[in-house]
């Protein structure tokens, strides 16, 4: 797939090695998932489009601290309404699950990063990369 310009926002350090060289990568290490979504939301306001669903996979906001968002940049400032709707729903989900936030088992975190990477790799495959 030929992308005009793509960017990735993630708080998962393991994603970095998987990011294609043509992509811009914004790592927010240890940031809450909400911050990743907010950063992506801000880009959507400026015309970026979601390439993948930010809640791809099936772990809920209180089951993983990791979130990776894949955007296509360069929308000439026009708001992409589907992307806008989806990212707002995702932020609402984060807020809903804030009340059900769980304490993570530290030993589990590498596995959760691994699952996040697996889903990201599925995204790349679907994009033909």
């Amino acid at each position: 797939m030929t992308l005009m310009k793509a960017s990735i926002f993630s708080n998962n350090v393991d994603i970095e090695d998987l990011v294609p060289s043509a992509f811009s990568f914004y790592l927010l290490p240890d940031a809450p998932a909400r911050d990743v979504l907010t950063a992506a939301r801000d880009r959507i306001h400026l015309g970026a489009k979601l390439l993948a669903h930010p809640m791809a996979g099936r772990l809920r906001p209180n089951e993983t601290p990791y979130r990776t968002v894949v955007l296509e940049e360069g929308g000439e400032g026009a708001l992409d309404l589907p992307s806008f709707g989806i990212i707002e729903y995702c932020l609402a989900e984060e807020d809903k699950y804030a009340a059900m936030r769980r304490k993570y088992d530290e030993a589990l975190l590498p596995d959760l990063r691994f699952i996040d990477c697996e889903i990201f790799q599925s995204v790349l495959k679907e994009l033909g990369l």
Binding site: R58, L59, E93, E126
Partner: protein, 427 residues
């Protein structure tokens, strides 16, 4: 196409030799089963246990649940073990009704849920009413997570097939016979009734988020028409997805509650004319492609109405909604089935996506609601894994041994084809 399901009622399981079925009792030989399993050199060790309904027994973390089914001619679960394969869904299939093979053990990160054979959790899922032959697998050290998932998946299916073969000599069975015509025959079968198609969503997003269709990873298929008879014969197999309450186990495919219900009304209230299998992908482009291809096939089948079921949490709701929207825009009345994530108190927004056209929704319950489960006399697996189970957390185990868990952590607690013990019915 005609499929006869020969159902042998099983009400208990015992270990013994030789393996056989005596009346409603399944007798299995652990040594023989171990030999079968160790044919896969990636398995280091395997052990077996039994969990029966009504007993103080808990199984966790559960991976897949499979009903033993086998054929003397043709094969169940085609595409998994052999290069060549025939279309599933015709002939005679032997089913051990009331009995399942259940795989357990950790793979990666978040684990599957809990099955309690008694107590409050047993009021929710159909699994608690079944006799479980539980298989605990230990992989060789060199086996990576992808292969580990495959090992567990194939071992469960293989055991279910082998155990299903014990039914061949049985003469004490009931039968269910299903017939399925070609598209033209089905279309014309009941000209006065509205035609209904079932859109069958399945997770297709990566390790522990996959389904298998004739042995092939559903990520690499496009939406496809299939017959309900194929589903009964194991054309669809679970990829051990991590979402206990809302996952479609292989058992839930084999006993798909939507298909059974559609057959119940077929020829009376409507004409059930087909199924379109729709993989749930990660990117928006694939979601929109699959929407277009699914709706196109539903239209080709001449549908007046559609039923959509889903699997998983979060992004699949987008698929559910956009397919519903497009069907409705094409004049096809659509009903969707989903669970809700409405917070512990049920007061939060319950769906992570919605469209105005989704005006007929059946809920399978609020997955965030919590339950306090009593301690059980016996745990098959590791109780501490509850801390890593979806729906559980590090504070789940109470000082007195009870467990606090979300409904979501109960296997099949809010199954998204509606195959649960909790619901509202018209009386």
């Amino acid at each position: 196409m005609v499929l006869e399901l020969r159902k042998i009622a099983i009400r208990s399981i015992e270990f013994g030799s030789p393996a056989r079925i005596e009346g409603d009792k399944l007798i299995v030989d652990p040594d023989e089963m171990k030999e079968w399993m160790l044919e896969d050199s990636r398995i280091k060790n395997v052990s077996f246990d039994i969990a029966l309904p009504g007993t103080s027994t808990r199984i966790l973390p559960v991976k897949d649940v499979i009903e033993p089914r086998a054929k003397q001619e043709g094969e169940t679960f085609p595409g998994l073990f052999r290069e060549d394969m025939e279309e599933a869904g015709s002939g005679v299939t032997y089913c051990l009704d009331g009995c399942v093979v259940t795989t357990t053990g950790p793979i990666v990160g978040f684990q599957e849920g809990v099955i309690d054979m008694s107590g409050p959790a047993a009021e929710y899922n159909v699994y608690s009413k079944l006799c479980h032959l539980v298989m605990i697998l230990e992989k060789q050290d060199y086996v990576d997570p992808h292969e580990h998932e495959e090992v567990v998946r194939l071992a469960g299916i293989k055991l279910a097939r082998k155990v299903g073969e014990l039914a061949f000599p049985c003469e004490n069975y009931t039968t269910e016979t299903y017939e399925w015509g070609n598209i033209g025959e089905n279309y014309n079968a009941y000209p006065d009734l509205p035609r209904v198609v079932y859109v069958y969503n399945c997770m297709s997003q990566g390790l522990l988020h996959d389904s298998y269709f004739y042995g092939r990873d559903s990520k690499i298929i496009v939406p496809t028409m299939l017959t309900p008879l194929e589903v009964f014969d194991g054309a669809l197999v679970s990829g051990n997805c991590v979402s206990p309450g809302s996952k479609t186990t292989t058992y839930m495919h084999q006993n798909n509650a939507c298909i059974k219900e559609l057959f119940k009304h077929h020829g009376k209230d409507f004409n059930f004319v087909g199924i379109v299998l729709c993989p749930l992908m990660t990117t928006l482009k694939e979601k929109f492609r699959n929407r277009m291809l699914t709706v196109r096939q539903v239209k080709m089948l001449g549908a007046d109405g559609a039923l959509i079921s889903q699997e998983g949490f979060g992004n699949p709701t987008t698929d559910l909604m956009i397919v519903c929207q497009e069907l409705e825009r094409n004049g096809i009345k659509t009903v969707i089935i989903t669970n809700e994530d409405a917070g512990i108190d049920g007061m939060s927004e319950s769906l992570p996506d919605s469209v105005p056209e989704a005006n007929a929704i059946v809920t399978t319950g609020n997955s965030n609601a919590t339950l306090m489960l009593p301690a059980m006399d016996k745990t098959i697996g590791v109780l501490k894994d509850i801390e890593r189970v979806c729906g559980g957390n590090v504070n789940s185990i109470q000082p007195d041994g009870r467990l606090l868990i979300e409904i979501h952590g109960i296997m099949g607690g809010h199954n998204l084809q509606g195959n649960t013990l909790v619901g509202a019915v018209t009386i």
